[in-house]
Symmetry: C2
Subunit: 343 residues, 2 copies
Amino acid sequence: MKPVTLKEIAEQLNISVTTVSKALKDYPDVSKKTKGLVKELAKTLNYKPNTFAVNLRTKESKTIGLIIPVIVHHFFSNVIKGIISQAEKKGYLVIILQSNESYDLEKKQIDLLLSQRVDGIIISLANGTANFNHLNEVLAQDKPLVMFDKIAKIVKCSKIIIDDRKAAYTATQHLIDIGCKRIAHFRGALLPQNSIDRFLGYKKALLDNNLPYDPSLVYICECGDMSFEEGKKNAQLLLKDHNDVDGVFINTDLVAIGALTEFNKQGVKIPEDISVVGFSNWFMSSVISPTLTTIDQPGFKMGKTAFKQLYKEIKAIKNKKPKAPKIITLETELIKRESTRTI
Amino acid sequence: MKPVTLKEIAEQLNISVTTVSKALKDYPDVSKKTKGLVKELAKTLNYKPNTFAVNLRTKESKTIGLIIPVIVHHFFSNVIKGIISQAEKKGYLVIILQSNESYDLEKKQIDLLLSQRVDGIIISLANGTANFNHLNEVLAQDKPLVMFDKIAKIVKCSKIIIDDRKAAYTATQHLIDIGCKRIAHFRGALLPQNSIDRFLGYKKALLDNNLPYDPSLVYICECGDMSFEEGKKNAQLLLKDHNDVDGVFINTDLVAIGALTEFNKQGVKIPEDISVVGFSNWFMSSVISPTLTTIDQPGFKMGKTAFKQLYKEIKAIKNKKPKAPKIITLETELIKRESTRTI
DNA sequence: GATTTAAACGAAAACGTTTTCGATTTTGTT
DNA sequence: AACAAAATCGAAAACGTTTTCGTTTAAATC
């Protein structure tokens, strides 16, 4: 019942534990013959190295931590998938934690991962995170840290992002191109960098096209978790206060879908009355009615890239040649669908 | 830069490693005074026990493994969330692996988790899994194993399920109640137990209501990953071969949504021409048009329950009082929406 | 003051592996 | 046959913790 150890193999073969260990790892100073014997017996006994001992000895766990604001989320679950798929290729396991958009939890979880001694951490920040000591603590311990999507510019680690500003600019420009003159923006929470950048892209597009920027058309949501309900609520407010709006650029597809639902309910014609552009390209956006024009955000690729970068840094640190942090920007694409007019 | 160890604390305080260890764990044979000193120094030095060493010594990792067919999936990601949330409460970490509906991968991953020496495993089987040696191997090693949703009845472990048969019966009965006479069924893949049970529930409802069971109305999908495309394809086939069908019970919401999309495209009126019932209650189902009548499957609760059960078994085995496997059936609910007629 | 009891501490083994470095054996060379 | 070189092996330390059990010190009892 007890798992078999090197010692037992050694005893059965009347050789030392050292030789068994070396044989299994193909050290050059073990003869072909003993290597054969050891490997064979190891296989028949179904020997599996004790990870705990290996970890203790080698000081690495071949495990990384992943902290994510929400799991039930099309974009994030795609990222998870990307990370896991890539990690598996390199023999790494992934421990996943959900911060629930809470800074306090995020902090605790970083602590937990550090004391678990994972080899590296990938994180997308909670909306509420404004203090970065916990992240700097990771770097201080010489542990690789990679951020994606919701990042903190100020923390000196690698980041995998999209150009939120540019993508938002493109989205807004599209609304302008099809003739919208009064364009609202649902910007979601205040803090996260990508909220800010998307807002800035929206604003710049307006100004570049000589459209006035009207702050009352920008809807902020204090709720931590941006959601369907938020979209409905904002749509209601919008219809009540601004009946001249003919276009909306919305921070996230889920919110956009909430807005669409409310627009449909109130009999507002999309796209004839109002054109709507979302952000992220959730699968859902392609099946609702009308289908949603949006910005495709490559979640799976982002996950893969994040792990690849983390892996490089793990190796680099191990070889005592730490690399400078790298910022990788992935391409996005405007997906035109039914929720925006064609000219 | 090196992490601080018990030894360093001991040296600074001029006491033994033993006492330091005991002090931190509140052993009764350490004086209040030294406990105070030790704890204080530990805090100022930011001491974190080396998990590798603790694991090696205690033979447990406070980590469990989770194998899931697909991550980007409303139901499964809810389960993940449930498991993680519950695990966190008990101080357990969760390693997540995606089997991609592949038996081979699943087998490898079980192996990986065993050699990683996780304290227990939660799994939802791949569609292709018909051989259960890898699962019995887990039990043979005295590791707790809990299955959920896609289970194998034959494996003697705890299971968290819904009554698929009953739920499918309810769904089909609902179609019958609103007047459907020719009811088709998209049953998805052939192997998984819940596919079978849902089919049996469908069939029994027909027979109990004296409606003929027509095998040509049951659409099977060999594709491993049941999906949107499958729904579209089956809807096409259905419209081509059976223009008298007035109701469909579909295995999974995502497939149902594919079918709805196709029906909409071909101008088939839902629910006037055909009533549609899905299964799982994905969020998406409440926002598409028409909104989808479906069976609510409590993913989050399932995840929580699965971990709770696993936890009990971990404790039980630790105390040398292993418990008999338990099968827990969670309630489901029919959610009536626009895709089925009202009488 | 001698003895018993309780309180506080520590030495050492153990968990299973990896790796250094020295020892032994074998092979090759003259 | 003697020696050098190469090939093969193993002893032992180390990783950091937990826990058993014995030892010392302090307090309590007679």
